[in-house]
Amino acid sequence: MVSIGAQAELGYPEKEELKFGFIKLTDMAPIAIAYEKGYFEDEGLYVTIEAQANWKVLLDGVIDGRLDGAHMLAGQPIAATIGYGTEAHIITPFSMDLNGNAITVSNDVWAKMKPNIAKQADGKPVHPIKADALKPVVDSYTQAGKPFNMGMVFPVSTHNYELRYWLAAGGIHPGYYAPHKGDTSGQIDAQALLSVTPPPQMPSTLEAGTIYGYCVGEPWNQQAVFKGIGVPVVTDYEIWKDNPEKVFGITAEFAEKYPNTTIRLTRALIRAAKWLDDNNNANRPEAVKILSQSNYVGADYDVIANSMTGTFEYEKGDKRSVPDFNVFFRHNATYPYYSDAIWYLTQMRRWGQIADDKPDTWYKDVAAKVYRPDIYAKAAKSLIADKLISAESFPNFETETGFKQPQTHFIDDIVYDGSKPNAYINSFAIGLKQGERL
């Protein structure tokens, strides 16, 4: 128990009863932990946590005020702010986690891919598996006149961009969007046809043969292994090491109207994220137990534990150690970096969701409109002042620019420098380049 009085300068929350939405995925953990461990209550916040049917319902809920905030795809606040889809000014004071997704293909596709993958000494496939191994399979479908369908969770989801990134890196065209022509299917020129499927329905859709593969967060990849209906081939950690995944989104109006509430909920979430990563993931088993409750993620303990406790099972029996598969606090995972927002914008431009060229400054401006490290810093500083978390756990707020050093760990070895978005867009073989318009 922490007394609220300790941060007299912070002031009481203006709005005490809040409702947060989430989608049943393990990376909603910080919200569940902040509730169950009493971190919200420590801030004087009475929070109701409510599962939502799908990302669209969740976003609309936050926009129309039915929800005060939500666990969101990093692309959602950005897309909403630039008006792709529903237009609304949504901000992010807190980034929820790194990594946590994977790409799964059906058993049949896996059997066809396997001959194209190099083997280790023990006969297991060499990882990371690139989409080059999938290309002959997609080509054979195309020649037979069959569309190669894959699922992802939302047009502006991390999963969509990761799946596209992985496919394109292996020479498979995932298709363009052309919103200015009213074509938002994302299947123009596509060799692999991507469409939206809600996460919990991924395994059953794969089983039904509607899609041959998908990109989704946990527990829905491990679920496919457990049920024997598919094989995860690559984690997003291998596609882009330590990529930002979910964010906590609130409306700009909410943050303006209730500044103390905003800082306090950010504090609670930071504490929860820290708890999740404390002592080298020592609390993860307890976290998994909480998440397996039917009102949170609700999947079986074993399924959630598979990835949350630092391992990941690819083929049945091929369990490998991926200690950073779910990162909630290490590596400054909770800090909303501008460069993370800009990466999403570059991918929106690459695939045509942003139809026209934009100057580098525009990317920076949009990122600064959506990602709010200033709110994060206020929350973090008050936590440091309260001696709840040490200053070393956070970036140095005096010198932090919001841009990560150029990042090198991509599956195709292309370097990403957030300060030069247009140059980055031009470095891809597949994708729209500067000056191109469909």
């Binding site: 005490e16 319902v57 919990p200 089983e207 049920k227 039917s294």
Partner: protein, 327 residues
């Protein structure tokens, strides 16, 4: 009944025997046959469930569902204990704050934890009754007006015929958008989700009631109408003394149909919009995809069916009571 031969030795007159026999036969019709039916159903269910393999394990049989009912009850009890602790913490926090800041008006906030299965049942019942009540309030006067006046009927009929077949799920997005646009308040008395579900239920259950009421009113015996004309009853008295009593059966037929529709619609609406209630319970469990999900959904299905049955019987009971009143 093989026991009859042994009864011949007893000192029972033939008449008594016959009457007993008749009684047993009658009571067996009431009790025995339904029991036989239910047992057969349980048997078939248990056997088929065992041979259906889904990706979430076997389809739940009767035993699994029964276990879930117990689990759901246990969860309810635990949640209540958590709620108790929540209130105690809150009370302490409020007291601390008042001690620091005497001007603070302590407010007790309702428990924020998860809704249990039993909470969801109550929520659904309240929603369906509100939606249905509102529909009745709108439909019955309109139906009477249409039944009395052929011109009104001709004018309104096409609209009703157009909207009657519309699925509740088509209304839902419209209702949601309109409610979120119109029903704006910082501290709403009732939740938006409740209004959404309720209005969707109303929109779907209003039509059978209007139609049946109108038919009932327009088919009143000509003799009764003549009586009313001879007595020169005012319109209001005419409706009260002649129209209503004569059309009660049809109004209630409409109400029974409507309530059935309302209950069905509500579950669908709750599933789609994730509004609190049994529908949400089912959808959440489906999304959970745990090894217990299917048996929990099956438990909910049985409860939904049973409540639907009770609602129907309820309207029937009210109808009987209302028609007794009139005679």
């Amino acid at each position: 009944m093989s026991s009859i031969s042994s009864l011949e030795n007893a000192e029972l007159s033939k008449g008594k025997l016959q009457s007993m026999f008749a009684q047993i036969l009658a009571s067996s019709k009431v009790l025995l046959l339904p029991l036989v039916g239910i047992s057969c159903f349980l048997l078939v269910w248990a056997i088929t469930a065992n041979s259906i393999n889904t990706s979430l394990g076997k389809f739940p049989g009767p035993v699994a569902v029964l276990t879930q009912f117990d689990n759901l009850y246990q969860e309810h009890v635990t949640e209540r204990q958590k709620a108790q602790a929540f209130y105690e913490r809150q009370h302490k926090r409020n007291a601390d704050r008042v001690a620091k800041d005497p001007s603070y008006q302590a407010k007790v906030r309702p428990y924020t934890g998860k809704e249990t299965f039993w909470d969801q049942i109550v929520t659904s019942l309240i929603t369906v009754m509100s939606g249905f009540g509102l529909a009745a309030f709108l439909a019955i006067p309109l139906g009477i007006l249409m039944g009395l006046n052929a011109s009104v009927q001709a004018a309104i009929n096409p609209i009703i015929q157009l909207f009657k077949p519309v699925s509740p799920l088509a209304w839902l997005p419209l209702v949601t958008m309109v409610v979120s646009g119109v029903y704006v308040s910082a501290d709403p008395i009732v939740a938006k989700s409740f209004i959404n579900s309720m209005l969707t239920v109303t929109l779907c259950s209003v039509w059978p009631m209007i139609i049946n009421t109108a038919i009932g009113v327009s088919r009143i015996d000509q003799d009764l109408l003549n009586v009313s004309q001879v007595l020169r009853l005012s319109t209001w008295t005419h409706i009260k003394k002649i129209v209503l009593p004569a059309s009660v059966p049809m109004i209630f037929t409409g109400m029974r149909l409507s309530l059935g529709v309302a209950w069905m619609v509500l579950i669908a609406a709750e599933m789609l919009a994730q509004n609190p209630g049994l529908g949400k319970f089912v959808w959440d469990e489906f999304q959970n995809g745990s090894s217990e999900s299917l048996s929990r959904i099956m438990a909910a299905v049985l409860v939904i069916g049973f409540i639907g049955f009770l609602l129907d019987r309820g309207v029937l009971a009210v109808q009987r009571w209302a028609s007794w009143e009139k005679h």
